[in-house]
Symmetry: C2
Subunit: 197 residues, 2 copies
DNA sequence: GTCTATAGAATGATAGAC
DNA sequence: GTCTATCATTCTATAGAC
């Protein structure tokens, strides 16, 4: 087996890429998902716009990296939840998962738009980054299955419910809790409709 | 009482405004909510771009007119539903209302985005047009009340459910029926959770 | 890898003639 | 009310020096 030497240049390149993605997310939070130019991102990381093309082929390539990064952030939240409540009953875990998921959506509307609403005009996630999204959904489906709602239709209903609650909160009561208060009742409603196993 | 003479000039002006709004909707359907310029709308109605400013003060003013027009379209759908099933049982009416509402959302994603997701960067509906939106929501709340789910929290949960189903259908299965098939089960779930009166 | 310079194109909006 | 002409920006992306 070949003893691979660390490629310090590649590491540096990847670190800069991540720095750019983080700066873009910060701008998206402040000004909206489409409210910034490559110039702005460049300035935020101490560069000029053309230098970004060393790291990303286009603005959509940057959105793609943000897409993957955003789903990875959600995966981390799930990990933290598992670490906090490792042996909770399935339905309790689902309840807490719903709360975590809702909070994740609402705390950053721009991120919610990119990850769940696909609202950047010409952007479609590439296969690689979309795989991260699928990974997260499978993780959620596992929890649902443990709670007795693992059928595809049940999973789809669950995602619609959570997306709808978050979407309404963001669009119609930003900064408030009008739909947040409905998360627990919604989970109860959902669970009551599923046959217990 | 003053015998008001018809103001033919005002009528003509209003008709042209509506023509422009319709052309903008057509472009939004084809290219997305933000995928067209005032030039394009002007060309579609046989004008040059500056002439539009006789009818709208800005592009956002046009979005505002579209917003009001879109909600009025939804109101028409509700009227048609009432005309078709005037004496249906409340819960049956709710079921059919959900189907109509879902279809309305999915058949024009750009309209769904403007009316329900507020996804035009700098645009906020004015008070007058927002009043139309409230009117439609009250109409829905009335039907919900008749079905035994008229409390504000129940209405909010209902809107979240429908918005979530439509949003997921549009984002993750455009042209398909993966979430459409869940509308009826979702309504059943919702109704089962409400105490019958 | 980072820069300057700039291409190339699009856009919302205004001025003023007719 | 409609037009021509144009302003004033803004933005992504590329070329090529260093």
């Amino acid at each position: 087996m070949t003893e691979a030497r660390r490629d310090r240049r590649a590491e540096r390149h990847a670190a800069t890429r991540q720095e750019i993605v983080a700066a873009a997310w910060a701008l998206a939070r402040e000004r909206g998902l489409g409210g910034w130019a490559l110039r702005d991102v460049a300035e935020a990381v101490g560069m000029r716009a053309p230098s970004l093309y060393v790291y990303f082929d286009s603005k959509n390539a940057l959105y793609d990296a943000m897409f993957g990064d955003g789903w990875r952030q959600l995966l981390e939240r799930y990990d933290e939840l598992d670490a906090t409540a490792p042996v909770a009953a399935p339905r309790d875990l689902l309840r807490r998962g719903a709360a975590v998921h809702f909070e994740f959506c609402v705390e950053d509307p721009a991120r919610f738009q990119l990850l769940f609403l696909r609202s950047v005009p010409g952007f479609e996630p590439t296969g690689e980054t979309y795989a991260v999204a699928r990974q997260v959904l499978e993780r959620g489906a596992t929890v649902l299955a443990a709670a007795g709602a693992g059928e595809p239709a049940q999973v789809d209903l669950w995602t619609a419910l959570l997306t709808g609650l978050a979407s309404q909160q963001i669009s119609n009561d930003p900064g408030g809790d009008r739909w947040q208060r409905l998360v627990d009742p919604a989970v109860d409603m959902f669970l009551a409709a599923q046959p217990r196993r």
